[in-house]
């Protein structure tokens, strides 16, 4: 159906794709796999017409395509879920779902039809979204769902999904996977990008692995194993993903008692995090797990309740004050809340650290220290060192996420609040991040890990709070923290 040959694409200073061949046929799910920055999103962007390749040929249904614009691609039936979303933040969810192809009657948008069709797709996905709220008021996971719904809105012949499930829990991801399978049945050609092995195994008919902008090879579904994939991806054998963390809970790092949100939706939340432990919070999209982290950091107004950090009660809810108490928060939405996109990577890595003596002397930045430390940090997290001085917007999705996390490892922090820390990060970098977390905890920090990745939560944390509908419904420890237990809690059992 779609056939790309000898595709090359260079960005200033980077060869993102080098002589790559790729094809996908109707009724097939073709998975693209590779490290962060391997060129997957770039390839996809070429297919949907967002970027023009430097050289190479592009055929759809045997017909050669020259100047492809997203508009033409849509007319040809190509529909895409992009990694960093193609949503207009100030428009409502409904408007975004139909952006560029609003149903009209006599030239006027037909809202009724729009609402009906939106509900139909959202029901298929078993998702509830506030249709009339502006997109910038949604959490990242909700944006992700909106983006998927937007792509499904079109009766596509080719569907492209670039990490569609990265911020979703298994429950929601399963729905998406089921929908994708249904579409395969209907002879849609599907390109799927993911770093989650489980999904790849469940879906893939074929996998093409990219490394450094070059195609390493394509394998059929029978040959897919985790080891082969990782080996193709990096050229090395796969190690173990999750480290063994020795938990030694010590003094109280964070204590929340009877907290209620001002905007409604949270009920008497109480929890605690000690030094030397990782505490997980799990729950479905929109259950309010992210709001807890935000509330601790003063980003979500609270009506009542008490928050103590390192024994001190928080009275002034500004991130600045709270950071002085030794806490740091890592937002889940890297683009809108986490990063300064047009500033260099180095500045983003150190941005939360500019009050520590290691980097600052009488108001002046010690530029050498800053450079060196950010380089060390970037190296740890496997961010390309040559990119230290380019602006973050030139990085691939996963690398952006790593830059966001980097700011935590460069500063002395006693309480870490991670909201979806590993969204879009490849397996290798993930294990690296977990190792870093391990060393943090073993040096006495406390970590509150809010995540939709169940495996991550179960393997890393020693205690797990599960949430449903704004309340904490259970605290699971030791043997209790099994997948079935957590899943049943998700539905408020």
């Amino acid at each position: 159906m779609i056939k790309l040959k000898n595709i090359t694409k260079t960005f200033p200073g980077v060869k993102a794709l080098n002589d790559v061949d790729f094809e996908v046929n109707p009724g097939e799910i073709h998975v693209l796999f590779g490290e962060n920055g391997a060129g997957k999103s770039t390839l996809v962007n070429i297919i949907v017409g967002n970027l023009a390749p430097d050289s190479g040929t592009y055929q759809i249904n045997g017909q050669k395509i020259d100047c492809l614009s997203p508009k033409v691609a849509r007319l040809l039936g190509i529909s895409a879920v992009s990694q960093e979303f193609s949503l207009a933040p100030s428009l409502s969810v409904l408007d975004n779902l139909f952006l560029g192809r609003e149903p009209t009657r006599w030239g006027i948008t037909n809202k009724k039809v729009m609402v009906q069709r939106a509900y139909k797709v959202l029901n298929d996905m078993k998702v509830k979204l506030p249709l009339f709220a502006p997109v910038n008021s949604l959490s990242r996971a909700q944006k992700q769902q909106a983006e998927i719904a937007k792509a499904l809105m079109l009766d596509a012949k080719v569907l492209i999904l670039d990490e569609p499930t990265a911020s979703l829990t298994d429950i929601e991801a399963k729905r998406v996977i089921q929908l994708v399978k249904d579409l395969r049945q209907k002879c849609v050609a599907i390109i799927y990008i993911s770093h989650r092995m489980r999904e790849i195994r469940a879906l893939a008919n074929r996998v093409t692995v990219l490394r450094n902008g070059e195609s390493v090879g394509t394998i059929e579904s029978e040959e897919i194993t985790e080891n082969t994939l990782v080996e193709m991806m990096t050229g090395k054998k796969a190690g173990s993903l999750f480290p063994d963390i020795s938990i030694r809970p010590g003094s109280l790092r964070l204590k929340i008692s009877d907290m209620n949100f001002s905007n409604g939706g949270g009920y008497n939340i109480s929890l605690s995090v000690h030094s030397g432990e990782i505490v997980g919070i799990a729950g479905l999209v929109g259950c309010g797990k992210g709001r807890i982290g935000r509330a601790v950091f003063g980003l979500e107004p609270i009506k009542s309740g008490k928050i103590e950090i390192n024994g001190e009660t928080v009275t002034q809810f500004s991130p600045r004050r709270i950071m002085r108490l030794g806490a740091c928060y890592f937002p889940s939405d890297r683009v809108s809340e986490g990063l300064c996109m047009n500033r260099p990577v180095r500045e983003n890595i150190t941005m939360a650290t500019l009050d520590s003596a290691a980097f600052v002397e009488r108001g002046f930045i010690r530029l050498n220290n800053e450079s060196n430390s950010s380089m060390v940090c970037a190296e740890h997290l496997k961010v390309d060192l040559s990119k230290l001085e380019t602006s973050v917007e030139n990085l691939s999705g996963g690398n952006r996420q790593k830059v966001l996390l980097a700011r935590g490892f460069i500063r002395d922090i006693e309480l870490f609040i991670f909201d979806e820390p590993t969204v879009g990060v490849d397996i290798n970098a993930k294990s690296e991040i977990y190792l870093l977390m391990k060393s943090l905890v073993e040096h006495g920090a406390g970590i509150l890990l809010i995540s939709s990745d169940l495996e991550e939560i179960i393997k890393l944390s020693n205690r797990i709070y599960t949430m449903h509908n704004g309340s904490i419904v259970a605290e699971l420890m030791d043997n209790n923290k099994s997948e079935e237990n957590i899943l049943s809690c998700f539905f408020g059992k």
């Binding site: 200033p12 200073g13 980077v14 950091f297 980003l299 500004s318 991130p319 600045r320 709270i322 950071m323 928060y329 937002p331 809108s336 809340e337 986490g338 990063l339 300064c340 996109m341 047009n342 500033r343 500045e347 941005m351 939360a352 500019l354 009050d355 600052v360 108001g363 002046f364 930045i365 530029l367 040559s386 001085e389 380019t390 700011r407």
Partner: protein, 297 residues
């Protein structure tokens, strides 16, 4: 190797290099057409004219960096000029330092007011500075009834306008000092870094513990302080306090900053931008001059 080259060019601001080369080429072009344009007196003359605009454009750029605006720049210049002159005329001895201090203080107060309204009251900078523009317009046309203040100590214009050091006019020297210091501060201090980060993504900066309020207010104060310096130099140039010294400067400064490469969306650009923009505008002056001379021939 490709990427190394790229890095060098990227880091050394290819845009600015291109602009400089463009300006230089144009100068050569003018000179071929009309050689007296490149006479030393004329060059120095154009340079010192440029330096005033460059100082104002730098001031404007600082608030543009944090997604702001200063529409009150022009009337701030007038008010500071009048204040400085009034104090100098009314005080006997020490009148010059006191006058300068009064001007700088007036500038800082205006800056604080702007910053307070923008950062604490959270009103759109466009509206705030438009409001301040109007307020200062009234101030500048009432404190002296719309008339200029004359009778400044004669040494004042000598010291701050006519004097030149190794042949370079004092205004140029002060402007260069200001620009170099500012550029250094922006790149090397936490405050400068904060301005970039806030301008780039205020929400992310807030979450990273950077105080929007404090830094914005300081940015506005710094902006108006620089305007005050420029205004004092201009006062020295005209030798009198003028109630409408700078009303048209505002748009020019924004233009200079944007032409030079500042982004009105914030978080981008360096102090070279306003300077380049100002130079480009004086290229206009040179052009007009050579045109005029040409017609005289």
């Amino acid at each position: 190797m490709n990427s190394a080259l790229y890095k060098i060019i990227h880091n050394s601001r290819r845009f600015e290099i291109a602009m400089f080369m463009g300006i230089a080429l144009l100068l050569i072009g003018f000179a071929m057409k009309e050689p007296t344009v490149l006479s030393t007196t004329n060059i120095l003359n154009v340079l010192s004219q440029t330096s005033y605009l460059a100082i104002f454009a730098c001031a404007q750029s600082i608030v543009i960096l944090v997604r702001g605006f200063d529409l009150s720049l022009g009337t701030t210049v007038s008010v500071v000029s009048l204040f400085t002159a009034l104090v100098m005329v009314s005080l006997g001895a020490f009148s010059i330092p006191m006058g300068i201090a009064a001007g700088l203080l007036a500038g800082s107060i205006i800056g604080f007011f702007n910053g307070y309204c923008v950062a604490i009251l959270e009103i759109n900078p466009f509206i705030v500075t438009l409001g301040t523009y109007n307020i200062l317009l009234a101030v500048s046309s009432t404190i002296t009834g719309g008339f200029p203040v004359t009778g400044l100590p004669t040494i004042f214009p000598k010291l701050f306008s006519e004097i030149s050091i190794i042949g370079i006019p004092i205004a140029v020297i002060i402007a260069v000092l200001i620009i170099v210091t500012l550029e250094y501060l922006l790149l090397n201090t936490v405050f400068g870094r904060n301005l970039y980060l806030i301008g780039s993504n205020p929400r992310a900066a807030h979450i990273a513990g950077i105080s929007y309020k404090f830094n914005s207010i300081v940015a506005y104060i710094l902006c108006s302080f620089l305007i005050a310096i420029g205004a004092i130099l201009l006062t020295a140039r005209t030798g009198s306090g003028e109630p409408n010294l700078g009303s048209q400067l505002t748009l020019q400064t924004i233009a200079a900053a944007v032409i030079g490469g500042m982004s009105l969306r914030g978080g981008e650009g360096s102090m070279m931008a306003p300077v380049l923009g100002a130079c480009k505008r004086s290229r206009g002056i040179l052009g007009a001059q050579s045109g005029a001379l040409f017609s005289l021939r």
